[in-house]
Amino acid sequence: MELSQTRGKIYQNRSRSLRNAATNFTLTSRKTVITNKQLTWLITVAELLGGTSSMLDMIFFYGFYTTHSQMTEKKENFGKWLPLLYMASVMAVLIVSFCILIKKIADGIKEIVRNKDGDVCVFSELVFCGYNHRNKNENEVRFKRKLWLHHVRVAVKQAKSWGRSTKVTRKLLITRVIVFATTSFVIGMTAWGIYQISDIVYTKGIGLGLLPSLVVSISNIILPNIFIKVSKLEKNSLEGSTALILYRSLNVRLLSVVVAVIRVFTRNYGSRVKPYTCTDHEDKTDIRATCWESILASGILQKILLTELALKSFLTFVLDPFRKMLKKLFFRIKIMRAIGTLRFNVIRHSIDIINVQVMCWIGFYFAPWYPLNVCVYLVVIFYIQKFAVLVNCVGTPEAHKVTRSTTILLTGKLVSFILVLIFLIVVLGYLEPSKGCGPFATFYVPWLCVEHFLQVQNKASHMFIFVDHMGSPSVYVPLLFISLTILYFYYSRSNRLNETAESIKDLIHMENQDKQYLASKLMQRYLTSSTKKPNLEKQWRDLKGAILPFGTTPGVKRGALSQQMKKLATDLMTTSSTNQFNKKAKSSMFKKPFKIKSWKKKRGKKKHLKTVVRHPVNHELWFLHGQL
């Protein structure tokens, strides 16, 4: 027993001294003196990329915000608030991002509801609202015409798909299931591949740790293109295929980032170290890296950003021009033409933005200045993509109506946000922070700083009583019940409104069929009558008493009936002058309802420009109502 106590004391002393040494090393380490100055920059870059340099103590990273060090009295006072401020800034960023995201999605929900109602008139939008009257430039008009034709062809193709037979639908369903299974398998294999590669890299120490990031970036470029080609087999609508490509590509990106993060995390975080125990084992496999948060930020987030930038620059400035050159030289070979034709894909590049946003949300905790790096990255990428669109790519961009695509992309972003939130909850609430660096070194978990501030752990405090009550079933069960009831109310109301709209459409259709039948009967009698202009009022009275079945007159072309009725109407107008109905009808038909405001001026009458309207008159309705 004495021996074990002695050993325990030795271990305690050793661990304490190791901890102090680690702290001192982290805070006061200096760069080794390099004699050959030409190698200095190379070593610095390698250290930075490798994630082992003292640059991790810079302001960009988590390790810089350390409170427990040699400080003056002023800094000590500030040091008390630093953990809370750090936590508050992370929470503020997440809350503001969530609010903005929800607001944008709410604007798009109006459009989703409109699409779901089935009342979207794609062709009326294309034909009647297809030209933007703000265009002044001839070149712009020419480009818009080309784009409009492309849109219309896509819409016509989609309209043809509405009338598919059952056999074709079944075949399509089988194809879609196969494609779905294949793409899921590919995504799974990609994630497994990234995990294995990063495992090899970290165990054998090759490639400066860049290989996982490179594999992630390459898969993010190649796989979305494969998904785009494969989605053509599924023959979905434009919105459907856009959504599928988006979610599949987003899955690849998120999985690859998650797998890489997990790999680096398990390597650097290691097994949970018990306090006051010796961590210096021979194989050194479960020693937690000092300041693992900064290493994670540098190891994953920075590297992914740098490799993506390098890869995109290589593709835009080297590979794509080479492909274009191949097409020009071997334009007779079909494969070369296919390789050399480059089109700008809006969805693929939008997914890049979502990916960067996700990394920004994650990276803000581990490297508070990471969003600044992302801003610089985005500015550079903008000019690279501009070059790609203007120089490399050809043809019209794909027909994506901006408002509809935005909603799909924002929904993908919301899903990514929820995953990021779960990850950050685990990091802030369950993982032990670094003991040697960072603002949360003195806390068991980072969230404790908020609990201490709010005095939630003190059972006598008001905050504890409030939180305890809010977290109890007596609050959240009724809230859940009320939310579900409200959702059900809106769902059933929208269904009822849909049914009402359908029944009104059917009524309008049936009314017109009645009208056409009556009119066709009248026309037949008029045409077959021996006298030139018969008394039609008598004939209408005869028809009124008859039992009339529904349906239009066979053989009568659509539109021909209304034209004949218009001619007949004018004939009747010219002949009958004593009829009261005709007088009224004449006055309503030919008088242009200008509302002229009389101005007592030298220059005479002026029109009231706001209400000058010529109302289009429905000849058919006048005729039938007048006669009946």
């Binding site: 409109r114 009647f128 020419r142 015409r145 259709h509 706001k610 309207v613 429905n618």
Partner: protein, 186 residues
């Protein structure tokens, strides 16, 4: 009060009256007067009620580049021949202002698309609209299919043409309607 652009043209008070009866501000009306005068300055200076003919109006960029420029002029022309005086011109720009209500815009736009002035948009009107939208690529456009699909979606009562009510119902569902039918003044 005095005149703004020489004698015989509009006084300050008249410009103020125009601001009350249109959806334009004073600055916008003055700017439009300058633009309108550039089309036929000597004739307008001589007679401020001068009607600029259709051929001259097509030199105005918003009408010239617009495939429906001539239809716009004919719709807003009080004589129906496509010539516009300054009040007709103001009426046109005011209707295409963002402050103008949707109902007013839809009524004028319906007349713009009703090429044969029969009170409804038939197949011929639709074909003419497509021809103007597409330009020289009209031969490669699936016009018949567009007409069938459009009538199926918009012609609710299957009357053979799109009536004003049906046109209004179709246009009102477009969220970008106000942005599309807008003429920039400056």
């Amino acid at each position: 009060m005095g005149t703004i652009f020489g004698k015989g043209l509009y006084t300050r008070k008249e410009i103020t009256e125009y601001t009350t009866i249109t959806y334009l501000t004073r600055n916008e009306i003055e700017h439009l007067l300058v633009k309108f005068m550039k089309l036929a300055s000597s004739q307008i200076k001589a007679d401020n009620q001068y009607r600029v003919p259709l051929g001259v109006l097509m030199e105005y960029p918003e009408f010239g580049a617009n495939p429906f420029g001539d239809r716009l002029c004919k719709t807003f022309s009080s004589t129906g021949d496509g010539s516009l005086d300054f009040e007709d011109f103001l009426n046109c720009v005011s209707t295409f202002n963002f402050k103008a209500p949707m109902d007013t815009k839809i009524e004028y736009i319906f007349q713009m698309y009703d090429f044969d002035n029969d009170g409804e948009i038939g197949d011929d009107d639709i074909k003419e609209t497509i021809r103007r939208l597409v330009g020289e690529r009209f031969e490669y456009t699936p016009v018949e299919e567009i007409c069938i699909a459009l009538n199926k979606q918009t012609d609710l009562d299957s009357a053979g043409g799109i009536s004003f009510t049906e046109f209004k119902a179709a246009c009102a569902k477009n969220l970008d309607f106000q942005e599309i039918f807008k003429i920039n003044i400056f």
